[in-house]
Symmetry: C2
Subunit: 292 residues, 2 copies
């Protein structure tokens, strides 16, 4: 069929064969097969040139249009989508608190890369379809995927300055007066960030059973800003709020978390220009972040 299209354009089996990187013999038979299948001639073989029959002319026009639209679609898939668009899933809190504030800079650094950002809690990167890469929170061990560490969490305790009412907070008992804000790993299970932080700080006997629970760290931080209580959060996630005074840090204890944020890609993406560029940018930003 493709063969007939080229023959129709070149009006010659020989030239069509050249253009298609085939022999004239192959072209001749392809067209003949098509004609036989249709039970209708498409070309009139004259010596030194070919003419289209009415049926051939009609079919040629249709085929050209159809192939063209398919070609455009194919190109838009292989080129546009593949070469310019980077589809990435980022955990919601990381997206909002870390990536979004840096998106403008990303656009400057990689002006020719279009970003598609989704914030599913669990991404579908392994299913090799909708995503080019992802940022994940975890231990960096994901089968069949490549991961580069971006940053390890450094947990600090924060709350709204209004909550303090000028009082000093210096020990476990002071802390116990506040409402604890927790983040859920699943509907019935909390992340153990409070536990880890308290252990690291050397605070025993603090009862964290009460308090508010949120499914997203982001909501817990928002709650803290609103003066609802104290929460443990990664320092990078609340840097802006600390700088603007929306939040204050309690205690000078920063606990290295057990898990980290990773940039995750599929092995097939190795060497992919835009993925590599994005990774480089992310790592540079993360390094700058740590240096602050």
């Amino acid at each position: 069929m493709k063969v007939f299209e080229v023959v129709g354009q070149t009006r010659s089996f020989t030239r069509a064969a050249e253009r298609l990187n085939l022999t004239q013999s192959a072209v001749s038979r392809q067209v003949r097969n098509l004609e036989d299948a249709l039970g209708e001639d498409l070309l009139i073989r004259r010596h030194h040139h070919l003419e289209l029959t009415p049926a051939g002319a009609e079919l040629l026009a249709t085929i050209q249009e159809a192939f063209h639209s398919i070609e455009v679609s194919l190109r838009s898939i292989t080129e546009k989508s593949n070469q310019n668009r980077l589809r990435i899933n980022v955990p919601p809190t990381f997206a909002k608190r870390w990536l979004l504030p840096r998106l403008a800079r990303l656009r400057e650094a990689l002006p020719d890369v279009d970003i598609s950002l989704s914030t599913e809690a669990t991404d579908t990167l392994a299913e090799r379809g909708l995503l080019d890469c992802a940022i994940r929170f975890g231990d960096g061990e994901w089968p069949m995927l490549d991961a580069s560490i971006l940053m390890t969490e450094r947990h600090v305790v924060v709350c709204a300055p209004s909550l303090l009412e000028g009082a000093k907070v210096e020990g476990p008992s002071d802390l116990q007066r506040f409402t604890f804000l927790h983040v859920l790993a699943s509907p019935d299970r909390r992340y153990l960030t409070w536990r880890h932080w308290l252990d690291a700080a050397g605070f025993q006997d603090v009862d964290t059973r009460g308090g508010l629970e949120f499914d997203l760290l982001d909501l817990a931080i928002e709650a803290a800003c609103a003066g609802l209580g104290v929460t443990v959060a990664d320092r990078s996630m609340v840097r802006n709020q600390l700088q603007s005074g929306q939040l204050v840090q309690l205690f000078d204890v920063a606990v290295e978390g057990h898990e980290s944020y990773w940039f995750v890609t599929r092995p097939q993406s190795a060497g992919n220009r835009k993925v590599d560029a994005f990774r480089a940018w992310l790592l540079a930003e993360a390094a700058a972040d740590r240096a602050e």
Copy 2:
């Protein structure tokens, strides 16, 4: 590609395979090959159902439209053109004087056959392209073609009644007074119909060198009707004019010509419904014509 279209519709390799009369294995690989070629996934394999990626959805839509238009075009070629239309070349004079007056009856007899009538002096039937069949004048010997005889020429001499001015025309000398109308076989060669007729009539010493020449018998007949001279013509070609009195026949001599009109087809058309029907009708009409 066709495979992907069906998979996109059925959302299942297994069902697509059934519809395509293939195995699930073949379908699976076809799609995988397409994806590999594009470097882009088109489907998300879930268990118990498939989902389209954005790229897949876009491609599916394009492909469906493109294939549909090609299919329509293909169908119009194989069905409409092939099944309903009969393309036929008929020598000009035969077309005008014999076939055209019978076209209305042909439409009645074969209402579902559309006729495409061309009147090239030399048809292209052997080149298998534009024609389904032809009517030819000759000896019935054409390589690679099948021929059925329709009618043998019966030459009579005719002229306009006004030309006679009431005079009797009974011998060669009477004939010599008229202008002879000739038909050319090629620019410099006449058909020998006058010669044959004169020989058969037993008229010696008639000088036919002068007179008017025409490239078509039809023009010669028209000239005769206009009173320009006498011509030899096949009786079937002038039957209407004789009946209406536009022409009259001179002498009661009808000469069987050396050549005949034949219905000619390609061997590949053997068994073709519309060709067979047309042949049957032609032969019946020719028989009826002879009976008159």
